[in-house]
């Protein structure tokens, strides 16, 4: 049972390119989240989803797009990558709600040149 997986694990791209980070879970948890982790900022919520076809903005949503057509997948797209989006991105799930225990994926390290 893989639980929660993210792909790719590492990605290097150039400014202005579109990039999609994938998140897949096998638990059927209702809630899914995208965070970015930067030195000095801890983890900051980008977007979250309460169920398929329901998404909402977090603390830092600008420059990102999400979708959730299926319960198990929650892709994060950077429409036009910028250097400030260089970060480690974590996907997380929760079976209960966005303020309860969350289960994290291994992360994707994204570098924008």
């Amino acid at each position: 049972d893989a639980g929660i997986t993210q792909s790719p694990r590492y990605k290097i791209t150039e400014t202005g390119r579109q990039v999609t980070l994938m998140c897949h879970q096998t638990w059927s948890h209702s809630y899914m989240f995208w965070y970015r982790q930067d030195l000095g900022h801890g983890l900051r919520l980008i977007y979250y989803s309460a169920a398929a076809d329901i998404t909402d903005k977090g603390e830092v949503p600008d420059g990102y797009v999400v979708s959730r057509s299926k319960t198990e997948n929650f892709p994060l797209t950077l429409e036009s990558a910028t250097r400030s989006q260089t970060s480690v991105y974590f996907c997380a799930t929760s079976p209960v709600g966005r303020y309860n225990e969350q289960f994290f994926g291994p992360g994707t390290r994204l570098t924008v040149l």
């Binding site: 801890g42 983890l43 997380a92 303020y99 969350q102 291994p106």
Partner: protein, 112 residues
């Protein structure tokens, strides 16, 4: 921002010693959670303490919460080298965006 702040930023102890790290936050909370992150890995949930609780235990972990001081502490007893990791507190903000807000973490090193 509701973001918690951990203290100290880094802590180095000998194996077998106890490790204490603190978290302060700014506004009213529903609950406070502690997570661990090993280098290069995702976060792992350790413990959740609700605003009406003062202390909670889980194995070698002891968490306290003082809502009057808006602070929490995480105590790891009889530390092991495997406890080396970063530890984050996360708060659920009732007054803001209703999301979990994470602090910047305490980096714990346990020397064998």
């Amino acid at each position: 921002s509701q973001q918690g702040e951990e203290d100290p930023q880094a802590l180095s102890i000998q194996e077998g010693e106890n490790a204490t790290m603190n978290c302060s936050y700014k506004t009213s909370i529903n609950n406070l959670q502690w997570y661990r992150q090993n280098s290069g890995r995702g976060l792992v949930h350790l413990i959740l303490i609700r605003s009406n609780e003062r202390e909670k235990h889980s194995g070698r972990l002891r968490v306290t919460l003082d809502t009057s001081k808006k602070s929490s502490s995480l105590l790891i007893t009889a530390s092991r080298a495997a406890d080396t990791a970063s530890y984050f507190c996360a708060t659920y903000d009732q007054t803001g965006a209703n999301n979990l807000f994470f602090g910047t973490g305490t980096r714990l090193t346990v020397i064998p």
